[in-house]
Amino acid sequence: MWLPILFLLIGLTLGLLTDFQVPEEYADYLSIAVLAAFDTLLGGIRAHLEGKFDQRVFVSGFFFNVSLAALLAFLGVQLGIDLYLAAVFAFGVRLFQNIALIRRYMIERSRKKKEDEKNRRK
């Protein structure tokens, strides 16, 4: 459990230390890739809480979503449509849904814990 968080921190520090900046033309791609990554991570956490976490689904979902988002942004640039907004919208909605579900599971879990403790005291 701690290994991924450690690596997340390693990635963050590596990114901050490299002093690397994406050119403005490609900023859209990166932002949408970041959004896709967030979506996948939160989806993974939700699935984990629901107890139906599948590593294969998670890993493939991450790469697929990120590349699909970038592809959509690229297609939008080529066609002259702000197609990346579609990806932003889709990921944004899913992000909110996932966060809401995670919150509910958290609340239910804490409620259950309290009830269990009550039952145990009895």
Partner: protein
Amino acid sequence: MDVSLRYKILFSIIFASVGFMIAIQFQSTQNSEQRDTRDLWEVRKELQNQQKVQQQLYNKIAELDEMIAQYEGQTQAAKVETLKESIQVLKREAGLTEVSGEGIVIKVTPIFQNIDSEQTYPSVSPGLLHRLVNELNTYGASDIAISSERITNVSPIRDVNGHTYVNNHPIPPLPITIKVLSENASRLLDYMQVSQSKDDFAIENLELEMSKREELTLPAYEQIPKLKYLEVENRETGES
């Protein structure tokens, strides 16, 4: 390799890449302001320019202060006299009076080549005149007159139905003379002898003949200067 370990490693790589992406995105959006990439010499040059501007402004302030002192320390009649004098100075600066002094005369004449094909009689285009005037100003001309049209700060040189107009008057057909006053006429002449304008005019079959004159008189700008975008400022008196 153990399956769970492999997944753990894959997981860690994913998390690291997510962190990396976030960090780069953060950096790209945070530090996107323009960096100062001028080197030492460019900065020095800029500093020098600004110092020059500052010096000019100081000189102007000193002049105006002197004028104020003149106004304040004088009787009514003398005040009027000073006012007239400053009006005269301003008129001369704006090109509304005749001026004379040392300068050069540039004669623009057509070049006729010995070729069989027909050649049209050349004319001076506004673009050429623009370049010439710019070059003259660069090399220290104080006053310029194209044929009998005095060039002021607001003088238009433009093409009207195929004819070149200066000050809204068509310039006469070639040859025309351009009179230029300068504080250092021989230097200006030297510069103009080797100037780019000479080549530019030659391309259009025009020749520039230049000569220095000790005494040269330029006509005044004859129209009422149009000051469309200037407004009288009345901050001191509060009137409008």
